[in-house]
């Protein structure tokens, strides 16, 4: 059997723009061999370099994200760095973690046709191939729809449809199971098993569908890959990432005994998918969030969770009803200063060139503290959230940016926080730590998530959204 991919002693570090440069190795002495036709699963914690690895294999790093690369990377016996990404179209296809990074066109069919146009495929054949792939991933109705209007799960399927479109034997799949419901997970697993080429799956969570489905299992950690028996790998990986949530008992400070509530509030939710024609109304018969509580709001993608959060933190007006803080009506403006909203994407909340300035800005409205007190507070906060004061936020890893976002809100010191999809892209351990810090002064927390196991571990109560109504879930732990 020939080796399709052979990485030997591969080390890589991104170019560091800070002065003085602190070199952090992303990959260090990494070895990986993929034999033709084999299926490999590599488990990797978030920010462990799995996206870098997948881009490296496709020839896009270090061409586009500058850095130092050493070692040998052979694909079909040829050094990858000696070839251009466009030469590899017929060798490998990458399904990236974030579909938004890979989508190019304004309709789904044009999207799928693009690589075939590059290959010079005649129009009639191209049209057959494109329609065929769309049918396989149940996207025919979306053929002339813009990917920008589709939901996360639908976009993921569009990206997966490339596997059936581009005739490449090697599949590199970076978190392909994210955003898919169980039915599509099974379909994808089946497609991987049936593929008569080579498959490399990189994932940060081990899910039931993986059991026994792959030929090789491994862990990517500290820049290197260890291959082993499935059972051992899974246990080792659990030890690496998981930690139980330890509740912080506190409430010595001012944020105790507050309650945010509303009854009979309704608001307009923009259509969740192109297939629904009109926006629909979401009803909230009764909702309460008290200090010190962790409450979760669980629901599938597009059910209106984020829309509810936007109303709850005062960004959007409700259509009817109002919110009460300790039984007093609160205006939208006051709501936005009572409830802190941590957007799912931390990049929306990064404004300034260094961690220090970003954190200090949170305190700029505070007249009760002296400049020296503020500086000390910023330094202390950075330490709590494992941040370097001089780092440049935009080039930090996703996990670090997420921690910076939490630190900013920690300094704002709101009595309530909404955490939108906090658990995606970071380890449970990091998420747990951020939550305990945020509620260490008694804040009430609303967790928005589609991951029921995450919410079950933490929350005391839980709301769900079904048929356009936000309801409290009965029979909680």
């Amino acid at each position: 059997m020939k080796d399709v991919l052979k990485l030997q002693k591969v080390s890589f570090s991104y170019r560091e723009y800070n002065v003085p440069p602190v070199r952090k190795m992303v990959l260090e002495n990494l070895n990986l061999t993929l034999v033709e036709g084999s299926k490999t699963l590599i488990l990797a914690p978030p920010d462990s370099g799995k996206s870098t690895l997948s881009r490296l294999i496709c020839g896009m790093v270090p061409k586009y994200l500058e850095g130092d690369l050493s070692g040998t990377c052979l694909m079909d016996g040829v050094e990858i760095t000696s070839r251009q990404p466009w030469d590899l179209v017929e060798s490998c296809v990458l399904v990236g973690q974030n579909p938004q990074e890979q989508l190019l066109m304004t309709t789904c069919e044009d999207e799928l046709a693009f690589p075939l146009e590059s290959l010079g495929m005649p129009a009639e054949r191209m049209s057959r191939v494109v329609r065929n792939s769309l049918r396989k991933w149940k996207l025919l109705d979306f053929a002339s729809i813009s990917p920008q209007e589709m939901s996360g799960g639908e976009r993921k399927r569009l990206l997966l449809a490339f596997l059936d479109t581009v005739p490449a034997p090697l599949w590199i799949l970076d978190e392909p199971f994210d955003d898919l419901d169980s039915q599509w997970r099974e379909t994808l697993m089946q497609r991987i098993t049936d593929h008569n080429g080579t498959v490399l799956v990189l994932a940060s969570r081990y899910i039931d569908e993986f059991r026994g489905s792959f030929d090789h299992y491994g862990i990517l950690s500290e820049g290197a890959i260890t291959i082993g028996d499935e059972q051992d790998i899974v246990i080792e990986y659990e030890q690496l990432c998981d930690r139980e949530y330890t509740s912080v008992e506190s409430c010595t400070e001012e944020h105790c005994g507050k309650a945010l509530s509303c009854s009979n509030v309704s608001f307009l939710h923009p259509r969740k998918s192109v297939k629904d024609n009109a926006p629909f109304t979401l009803e909230v018969p009764s909702f309460t969030l008290r200090s010190e509580e962790i409450v979760s709001l669980v629901g599938p993608n597009g059910s209106g969770k984020s829309t509810f959060s936007r109303v709850l933190c005062g960004l959007d007006p409700p259509r009817a009803g109002e919110f009460l803080l300790d039984d007093q009506a609160v205006s939208r403006r006051d709501l936005s200063r009572t409830v802190g909203y941590l957007f799912q994407n931390p990049d929306y909340e990064i404004f300034l060139p260094s961690v220090r300035e970003e954190l200090a800005w949170s305190l700029s409205g505070d007249r009760s503290r002296t400049a020296a007190q503020k500086t000390a507070l910023v330094a202390e906060c950075a330490k709590l959230f494992h941040l370097e004061l001089d780092a440049t936020p935009s080039t930090m890893s996703y996990g670090k940016r997420k921690q910076l976002q939490a630190a900013v809100h920690y300094l704002l010191d709101r009595p309530f926080y909404i955490l939108d999809e906090l658990d995606s892209g970071i380890t449970y351990a990091t998420a747990f730590e951020m939550i305990s810090l945020l509620r260490s002064r008694g804040a009430g927390i609303l967790l928005i998530t589609h991951d029921r196991s995450f919410s079950d571990r933490l929350s005391q109560r839980s709301y769900t959204i079904s048929n356009g109504t936000v309801l409290e879930r009965e029979g909680q732990v």
Partner: protein, 182 residues
């Protein structure tokens, strides 16, 4: 393996750069606009044009500026202005960058000298306000077209000041911007 020259290696990055800057111009034109009686609105589009001119040079600024404002006019319901905006803002971006980045040879990363940024910027303000004055003169008379000259001067002037500031803050906030080149 075939030989590829440097220019073909850069093509994808150039296309990506111009396309994204164009989209930003459209968004800034349509999302931050103050309605005015004449040309419809004043907007923040000049900030992005100056930003592109100072950091990425004449071609990127001309294409993104012209295409972006032209598309914004189409989408915003001012189709008759699209070809004029394309030419005027295109010329604005081109000239600002030519003057501001003249000492920097093409395709090089680097910061334009401050004094040149101001000189090029002022020329850009004149080109933009003058261009719309002349175009307006032919379309609906030179006297009425005078009304919008101060508004255009204001829009382009604010654009220049913010453009200079933002071209510095972006380099600080996102150092890898220097690896993007035309």
């Amino acid at each position: 393996m075939e030989k590829t020259n440097v220019s073909s290696q850069k093509t994808a990055l150039r296309i990506a750069l111009v396309a994204v800057l164009t989209a930003v111009v459209v968004v800034f034109t349509l999302m931050v606009r103050v309605p005015t009686p004449l040309k419809g609105y004043i907007s923040l589009c000049d900030v992005v044009i100056y930003f592109a001119a100072y950091l990425f040079g004449p071609w990127a600024a001309a294409i993104a500026g012209g295409l972006g404002t032209g598309l914004a006019d189409l989408l915003g319901g001012y189709a008759q202005w699209a070809p004029l905006s394309f030419i005027i803002h295109g010329a604005q971006g081109l000239l600002v960058a030519l003057i501001a980045r003249a000492p920097i040879s093409a395709g090089v990363r680097g910061d334009a000298p401050f004094i040149r940024m101001v000189m090029g910027g002022l020329l850009g303000v004149i080109v933009m306000a003058g261009g719309y004055y002349i175009a307006g003169g032919f379309l609906y008379g030179f006297e009425p077209a005078l009304v919008e000259v101060p508004l255009n001067l204001l829009q382009a002037g604010v654009g220049m000041v913010l453009g200079i500031i933002v071209s510095k803050t972006v380099q600080k906030a996102y150092p890898p911007v220097r690896s993007l080149y035309w």
